[in-house]
């Protein structure tokens, strides 16, 4: 009897969901991010990386209606970033290598008024090490270049 109880406890332990990583700049990792839809993709020559840009339901609805100036409160944009790797079977193709980080912009025009209405969060690598950089102020500094598009670089990619 005790043996079966122990087995039940151990099974529960090993099948439970992975613990959430620590917050980044006070923001919790959006647990459903892997199920979000695509808004765009990009490749950066300056740091040899490939990116998928995704969004939560609020973001997708806004993107599809063209209502992104500004993006509505409740929007979360996700960016999944991998180092470039050459495809072994098709050399001219760059494909995802090692994961660099996953990062998110959370729109709350009141809470994040000091950083353009956006909260910035990032977790590095497969271990999801949280970035805590003065409430995302350095992130916002770079995003000022996109001030004319609500501090968001991504423009939703056209789809029929």
């Amino acid at each position: 009897m005790t043996k079966y109880l122990l087995l039940a406890v151990l099974t529960g332990f090993f099948t439970q969901a992975k613990a959430a990583p620590a917050p980044s700049n006070g923001i919790d990792l959006p647990r459903t991010y892997k199920n979000w839809r695509v808004i765009g993709v990009s490749h950066r020559d300056d740091n040899q990386s490939l990116r998928a840009i995704t969004g939560n339901a609020t973001a997708i609805q806004a993107a599809r209606k063209g209502k992104t100036d500004p993006w509505p409160d409740g929007t979360i944009l996700g960016k999944l970033v991998w180092k470039d790797s050459r495809h072994p079977q098709w050399q001219p193709a760059l494909v995802p290598g090692e994961l660099v980080h996953i990062e998110f912009m959370v729109k709350d025009s009141k809470k994040y008024a000091a950083t353009g209405g956006w909260g910035f969060a990032r977790w590095r690598g497969m271990k999801l090490e949280p970035l805590n950089n003065d409430g995302g102020k350095p992130c916002f500094e770079c995003h000022k270049a996109a001030a004319s598009t609500d501090h968001v670089f991504t423009r939703p990619a056209p789809l029929p």
Copy 2:
């Protein structure tokens, strides 16, 4: 009364879903493709394009479990392809320009036995002009380079 009836009919006409495009190689456009999840991204130097690779529920389940050798029957992989464009606010970034095409690989090991178990479909541009190229045989010719990975070039990108 007749006037209101006419108005109701016209409203119904203009708000109905867009008509489906003609099939490509006998395959219908998967109507829900815009809601599929991301499997990977790529950039091709040989034709200056950016791609998002997505999949239906069967594909996502297989990708996340690492059960892609072979991909199960019922898998549909989507590839959304745009011409490269330089980001006006961040020059080293390549971002989606004009849509080139959306294309799909449909796994049915019996139905498509002559082409590696895969049906190949493609619709060009925002007008979704269907490709009909001898049942996708020319597509299969190129995909033979990926014979060791079930004729699929895409490897699911790592995510924590």
